[in-house]
């Protein structure tokens, strides 16, 4: 474990050291990387540690909530009630939430036999935008586009979403104990501009369910997603449960 470690003390320094991310392992909270290292599946040679980079600010500027990439999941879990707080409360357990970060959760790859990155669903539903740095410089884009694009070589700096975010619903199906991975997550926000539907926990990334947004028909979620088989649940079960969860969420926001 004699990796070269880089510890930037500002966001600008982090961006500069990150470069285009080549041959670099980025450590946010470490809750996903450390088990990979312990198991011998990851052997970092150059590590960028963000814990001193000042990316942990959580603040509200007028109508915009800004969440630094290093904001702990625990801070979101303890925040005002909303879809983000609800899903944050279900990540792992209290101790892991204290170390895990929103940036790390957003960028999480699947585990061995489970899906991660639950927070993608509420962030999509909130219409959140992610500001990232990397090759080609800094850019800001909707979360769903960031997740669907090629994000190798991007360093997440901050997330932001607008308030108010309308009526909302957070639906999840998982076993009822700490550390259980999701079978399926559905988040919906409904404003005057329409619905935003975020789905996570059913595949490698969270997705935006645009067919459901258009039709307001829960069964259309199967047009938007392609759930996977894993150790937690079968794709078939996920498909059946998603229709139920989307239906409940639509009811709750008053939009079925």
């Amino acid at each position: 474990m004699a990796a070269e470690t880089l510890v930037p003390s500002s966001a600008d320094e982090a961006v500069q050291l990150f470069g285009d991310g080549t041959d670099l392992t980025v450590f946010a909270g470490g809750t996903i990387l450390m088990p990979e290292i312990a198991a011998g599946r990851l052997k970092p040679t150059r590590a960028l540690l963000l814990h001193r980079s000042g990316l942990d600010k959580l603040r509200t500027d007028g109508d915009v909530v800004r969440i630094g990439a290093m904001v702990p999941v625990a801070a979101l879990a303890g925040g005002p009630d909303g879809p983000l707080a609800r899903f944050a409360q279900q990540v792992a357990d209290l101790e892991v939430r204290g170390a895990a970060t929103v940036g790390g959760n957003l960028c999480a790859s699947p585990g061995l036999g489970s899906q991660r990155g639950d927070l993608g669903a509420p962030l999509i539903a909130l219409g959140a935008r992610v500001r990232s740095a990397g090759k080609g410089g800094e850019r800001t884009e909707p979360v769903e586009d960031f997740l669907a694009g090629d994000r190798a070589g991007r360093l997440v700096l901050e997330l932001e979403y607008d308030k108010p975010f309308g009526s909302w619903s957070a639906q999840t199906l998982r076993r009822r104990h700490a550390h259980s991975y999701a079978i399926a997550n559905v988040a919906i926000c409904s404003t005057g501009d329409g619905l935003r539907v975020g789905i996570s926990g059913i595949g490698p990334t969270a997705v935006r369910a645009r067919a459901v947004e258009q039709s307001r028909n829960a069964e259309d979620v199967l047009k938007d997603v392609d759930p996977v088989d894993d150790a937690v649940a079968s794709a078939d079960y996920r498909r059946k449960m998603l229709i139920v969860l989307v239906g409940r969420a639509l009811d709750e926001v008053g939009s079925s």
Partner: protein
């Protein structure tokens, strides 16, 4: 006996709550090498190539062992009970379960040991697999064990048998036959402490092994047998085990660490990862149990036919013993005069199975009690009353002729009923374990009685 009923402090309680209790991984003996194992990625395969030379040349690697390094590679845990050995300590020419250890490395760090494992050259030719114990007796199924797919050494039989009375009579006489299939699943004991061993060669030529085994003297015998050394060459140090639940009665890590410590002439430690514990440590077995009870309309169980298939995994280990215990309890705490039980130890390409909390008996208790409730339901009889009528009493005999001198079924059942607020009729509340008589002694229960207490 002044301790009975007193609140006594745990002698290890203060150590536990102050972090001073010492588990094997906490023992420090100076510089220690770390062990990692090469484990089979296949469920069933021939090993066509195994070459450790590149691994041995790696920096920090001090010893590597394979089957060739084990003085006696095949040794059965129950050879003392007449169960022949069938399992190699380290795979020899083939692997029969995913996770089976093939080679073990001792190196100066955990990373160096793991790096060495990754450069061991190994090639396989996969073979057909068997996972469903219901196919074990099918001659068309892949044959995966040198004994065939079923343990053949129950005397002249390939199954544990219990025969009592006249089962055909019972099934002819019955008013109803009640059938059921019960399939308790495999369970990983998941102790909080994973399997771990520290082996230290002493100046005297003896070997000290700090072991997490649940059965120190037993493990000592196993290590001595594999190493072909007298027992007095070994000193096993036990202590506090971080949970075993039956999963630490077959700690192969003791023997593997002993061999590496001798070869490297150095203290070695092997601490299993949680993944290894889930993948490769022995589990409680899965079972397939079929019961058919010949019963009368008024609630007598005239006879029971039962077939049990037990998933022993790839090797026998303790399964022949577990199925024997299972067989002994297949009539439950009840007197059934006509019995026909066949229990098969079946081999599959899974991790060999072992004990967990009531080895062999938890499965049969679950099955027979569930079945009894089913019988009650079919007959329209109260399940408590059914149990109390058929309960073992003084002078009744078990399936293999053990005479009941002081059975507790009646007392315990009545106490349980009271605890959960069940109001039984007076005639049942007054029942005792006294020898059967009157209405509780129908004709068909006379022959199995041994009121003088002699064996059947």
């Amino acid at each position: 006996m002044k301790a009975v009923g007193a609140r006594l402090p745990r002698y290890d309680g203060v150590g536990h709550v102050t972090g001073r209790t010492q588990y094997v991984d906490d023992v420090r003996v100076g510089r220690t090498l770390w062990v990692k194992a090469l484990r089979s990625p296949h469920h069933h395969a021939a090993i066509t190539k195994l070459d450790t030379s590149k691994a041995e040349a790696l920096k920090g690697v001090r010893a590597i062992i394979t089957a060739a390094d084990v003085p006696r590679n095949v040794y059965g845990h129950l050879e003392g009970l007449g169960v022949p050995g069938d399992e190699p300590l380290l795979a020899d020419g083939e692997v029969r379960y995913k996770g089976q250890p093939i080679a073990a490395v001792a190196a100066e760090s955990e990373e160096a040991a793991q790096a060495a494992v990754e450069v061991i050259e190994i090639a396989f030719e996969e073979k057909p697999t068997l996972f469903d114990i219901r196919l074990a007796l099918d001659p068309e199924a892949p044959q995966i064990h040198q004994w065939g797919n079923v343990y053949p050494h129950y005397g002249p039989y390939n199954h544990r048998r219990v025969r009592k009375g006249d089962i055909d009579w019972a099934f002819e006489q019955a008013d109803t036959i009640v059938e059921g299939v019960y399939r308790p699943q495999a369970i990983e004991q998941m102790p909080m402490e994973t399997q771990v061993c520290l082996a230290v060669p002493e100046a005297s030529g003896r070997l000290t092994i700090y072991s997490c085994t649940q059965a120190m003297y037993f493990s000592m015998g196993v290590v001595a047998a594999h190493l072909e050394v007298p027992l007095n060459k070994l000193k096993l140090v036990g202590g506090t085990v971080g949970g075993g639940f039956g999963g630490k009665v077959d700690t192969a890590s003791d023997t593997i660490c002993a061999l590496l410590a001798l070869k490297a002439r150095h203290a070695v430690k092997w601490r299993w990862t949680r993944e290894e514990e889930f993948l490769a440590s022995s589990t409680r077995a899965a079972w397939h149990i079929e019961i058919a009870d010949a019963v009368t309309s008024d609630g007598w169980i005239l006879g029971r036919r039962m077939v049990t298939l037990h998933d022993s995994g790839a090797y026998a280990r303790f399964s022949p013993y577990g199925v024997t215990k299972h067989a002994f309890h297949h009539s439950g705490a009840y007197t059934i005069p006509n019995l026909r039980f066949d229990g098969f130890v079946c081999f599959t390409n899974r991790v060999p199975t072992t004990a967990m909390r009531g080895f062999g008996v938890t499965s049969v208790s679950f099955a027979v009690e569930t079945h009894l409730t089913r019988v009650a339901s079919v007959l329209g009889i109260d399940p408590w009353e059914l149990r109390l009528r058929n309960a073992n009493r003084i002078g009744d005999t078990s399936g293999n002729g053990v005479v009941m001198h002081d059975p507790s079924t009646v007392a315990v059942t009545l106490a349980a009923a009271e605890r959960v607020g069940i109001e039984l009729p007076a005639e049942y509340r007054q029942m005792t374990s006294d020898a059967r008589s009157g209405e509780l002694l129908p004709e068909h229960l006379v022959a199995q009685q041994r009121l003088n207490g002699e064996g059947a």
